[in-house]
């Protein structure tokens, strides 16, 4: 049961579309209700960062299987300005002070796995994973 979806992110309505797609896929895979919300919220934040900082990008949502275990992987990528200071972006400012206000430490807390690659002027790719419980 491998399914995946690519959602182009170009405007605020795409943020809603992306998180609904993620939730849909997670429902299909039988994720528990709390995790549906966590996943949808994380996707929303990543999509929002694309709009805010890169204007355009895409979100890829896919199911992955590892033995008996099932997970959902979300890749949010853009060709925007990139993040100059990754350690600062990952600093927990609780979005009020410190940090860059990207909400990335929060997204990391919502997920089981989190991976960030960013190059100045080349763009940013955030990969997150949530295992089915």
């Amino acid at each position: 049961m491998a399914s995946e979806a690519v959602i182009p992110i170009n405007s605020d309505v795409d943020v809603v579309a992306a998180r609904q797609k993620g939730r849909e896929l997670a429902v299909e895979l039988g994720f528990v209700s709390t995790d549906l919300t966590l996943l949808a919220t994380a996707i929303s934040e990543l999509a929002r960062n694309i709009i805010r900082y890169a204007k355009h990008g895409e979100i890829l949502i896919a199911s992955v299987q590892s033995g008996e275990r099932v997970a959902i992987t979300v890749v949010a990528r853009d060709k925007g300005p990139g993040i100059a200071n990754i350690s600062l972006a990952m600093q927990d400012g609780f979005s009020t002070s410190g940090g860059l206000g990207l909400g990335l430490p929060g997204v990391k807390r919502l997920m089981d796995e989190f991976h960030l690659v960013s190059d100045a002027n080349k763009g940013t790719t955030v990969t997150i994973k949530k295992w089915k419980r």
């Binding site: 309505v13 809603v16 939730r23 966590l38 919220t41 927990d92 979005s95 929060g106």
Partner: protein, 123 residues
């Protein structure tokens, strides 16, 4: 997706019916700030029961909405935040500080009754 705003006595009740885009949320904020004056409302209830996601933008917009209506002389209470939504919000550091919340519509109405009475001059 326009959010219907009902007038009930001195209160305005905005009952969100489906997922909202950023533009919809900003619309709601501005509509309520305007309608508080138009209907001389003393309280506003925003029912978010159906929202499955409250991300940073939604939280910030609701906070702004509550502060704007307060500046216009009406108290706002957000009702119906679901338990898993609350959990996700806390993980993201979104605590809606300075904004009143209540469990549901009924509690929200009771809260406003108490809160607005305090400011109503007697006699």
């Amino acid at each position: 997706m326009e959010v219907p705003i009902l007038k009930q006595g001195l209160y305005l009740i905005a009952s969100i019916q489906a997922a909202l885009s950023d533009v919809d949320l900003v619309h709601l904020r501005d509509a309520l700030a305007e309608k508080v004056g138009k209907f001389r409302a003393r309280g506003v209830i925003v029912d978010v029961t159906v929202l499955d996601v409250m991300d940073s933008f939604a939280s910030r917009t609701l906070r702004d909405l509550a502060h704007m209506t307060r500046l216009r002389g009406a108290e706002t209470v957000i009702v119906g935040i679901q338990p898993e939504v609350a959990f996700a919000m806390v993980q993201l550091g979104l605590t809606l500080e300075g904004v009143d919340t209540a469990l549901d519509l009924e509690e929200g109405l009771a809260f406003l009754d108490k809160k607005t009475k305090r400011h109503t001059p007697r006699g």
